[in-house]
């Protein structure tokens, strides 16, 4: 289909749908939401006995998606990236990276480290999102509708991934779609290379938006190029604190905090959630 002719829109409960701004929609089939492929605690320990010095790539989670998906992770203080774990603090540098065959811990291993194990503990959330695709949603209404006190209509669909739920639950956590709650949709995503130390994106969403950013590497930029085909990318975890951002209603500018972004490649997700407006 060139242009979809059919669709569905649900505004948040109490928001008149004709005047609902994008961020006041619980679902709109014209744009993409952050569909979660999996979210789970991970706790994996690798025995590094016999490994020689060099870049290593250890699979932490096999995601089964046909591309390197966008993901976020919160690592535990017990993880190897913590100085407290190693008796050689700061000598091991690495991070989780997304590859087409799974989420890996990619790091430089020195056989002189005072440890034989690498432990990765944390909470992992993998999105059904291929950041190689450039996507930009249409913007619609640029006013903000006030909630109406007598909301009579809405929709809710139980989340089949959460057990023990039923349709009478009144907690949003039980549902995949629940119009009394706010759900996070995307305005843009893709990859971009910094130019002269900055990333400048034209978003045109109508307000300074929330964002997530991650590092990205092509085969020629990767520390483990053998893991990638020519058209594939490797991604670091998405962060809400990557670089420093300044935005207008139409553009967002990312700059380095301590160093220039140079010509580095990034994956980005611009959300429809405004940073200055509640709702």
């Amino acid at each position: 289909m060139e242009n979809g002719r059919y669709g569905a829109v649900f505004s948040q409960q109490g928001i008149p749908i004709q005047r609902a701004n994008d961020y006041q929609k619980a679902m709109d089939s014209r744009w993409k939401f952050l569909n979660i492929h999996v979210e789970r605690y991970i706790d994996v320990t690798f025995n590094m006995t016999g490994h020689t010095t060099g870049w290593k790539r250890l699979k932490v989670y096999g995601h089964t998606l046909p591309y390197a998906p966008a993901f976020e992770v919160i690592l535990s203080s017990m993880s190897v990236s913590s100085d407290a774990f190693l008796t050689d603090p700061g000598k091991m540098s690495g991070n989780l990276r997304s590859f087409p065959d799974g989420i890996h811990y990619t790091f430089f291993w020195d056989s002189g480290f005072n440890t034989n194990t690498v432990r990765i503990k944390g909470f992992l959330r993998v999105f059904k999102l291929d950041l190689r695709e450039i996507y930009k949603a249409p913007s619609s209404v640029l006013t903000t509708a006030k909630p109406q006190p007598n909301a009579r209509y809405g929709a809710k669909f139980l989340d089949p991934n959460r057990g023990g739920t039923n349709i009478n639950d009144n907690t949003p956590r039980s549902y995949s779609l629940y119009t009394p709650a706010k759900q996070i949709s995307m305005h843009m995503h893709g990859t971009i290379k910094a130019v002269a130390g900055v990333v400048n994106l034209v978003h045109e969403v109508g307000y300074p938006p929330s964002y997530m950013l991650c590092s990205a590497y092509s085969k020629s930029e990767s520390a483990v190029p053998s893991a990638l085909q020519d058209d594939e990318l490797e991604f670091g975890p998405l962060f809400e604190s990557y670089a420093k951002a300044k935005a207008t209603a139409d553009t967002i500018l990312f700059q380095g905090v301590q160093t220039s972004l140079g010509t580095r490649r990034f994956g980005y997700v611009i959300l429809k959630d405004p940073v200055e407006i509640i709702g």
């Binding site: 993409k32 952050l34 569909n35 492929h37 535990s76 089949p160 759900q183 935005a247």
Partner: protein, 170 residues
């Protein structure tokens, strides 16, 4: 719930076999935005109080300048945007910046605004640090910045132990 009920939508211009824009079979990032829950709010406040640093007393100091009970039965995913609204002239270029971790400084002094989440609360923290070196003193500046702080406490898990917003040196 049967896996054959729900709602799906294809990305505009594609079929449901190609790419889904939305599927109610997937979990989503959700915030309970009901009034009174206080899980989605904007606050306006300064970044804590002044921290006096000196290279003769190296180390990290922290001040919690806001505590918000999250009232979840788990440690939730939390999103916080510290937006620097009004900035004293001493911190050039800081006005209008926003992130979940704002940083300024370098060697031997730095300071930052960040958040922490534990089993009961979300904390906004003013952190400052000094390393040892030739005798120097520094009084922090973040307390003089007026921040607009948007926070969201999600219905999704964050971690099974306390965690903080992360500093990325980029």
């Amino acid at each position: 719930m049967s896996r054959r009920t729900g709602i799906i939508a294809a990305v505009n211009g594609k079929t449901i076999r190609d790419e889904l824009a939305y599927s109610s079979e997937d979990t989503h990032l959700v915030i309970d935005s009901a009034p009174g829950k206080d899980r989605l709010k904007i606050l306006t406040m300064n970044g804590g109080t002044v921290i006096h640093l000196n290279t003769s007393s190296p180390g990290i100091q922290r001040i919690i300048f806001k505590t918000i009970p999250h009232k979840q039965r788990f440690i939730p995913r939390v999103s916080v945007r510290f937006l620097a609204r009004q900035v004293p002239a001493a911190i050039s270029g800081f006005e209008g910046q926003y992130s979940s971790y704002l940083y300024t400084g370098g060697i031997p002094f730095y300071e930052a605004i960040l958040f922490r989440v534990d089993k009961t609360n979300v904390y906004f923290i003013h952190e400052a640090g000094a390393i040892s070196g030739p005798a120097l003193a520094y009084d922090t500046l973040m307390q003089d910045i007026l921040f607009q702080i948007k926070y969201a406490i999600f219905e999704n898990e964050g971690m099974d132990e306390p965690y903080e917003s992360i500093f990325n040196a980029a």
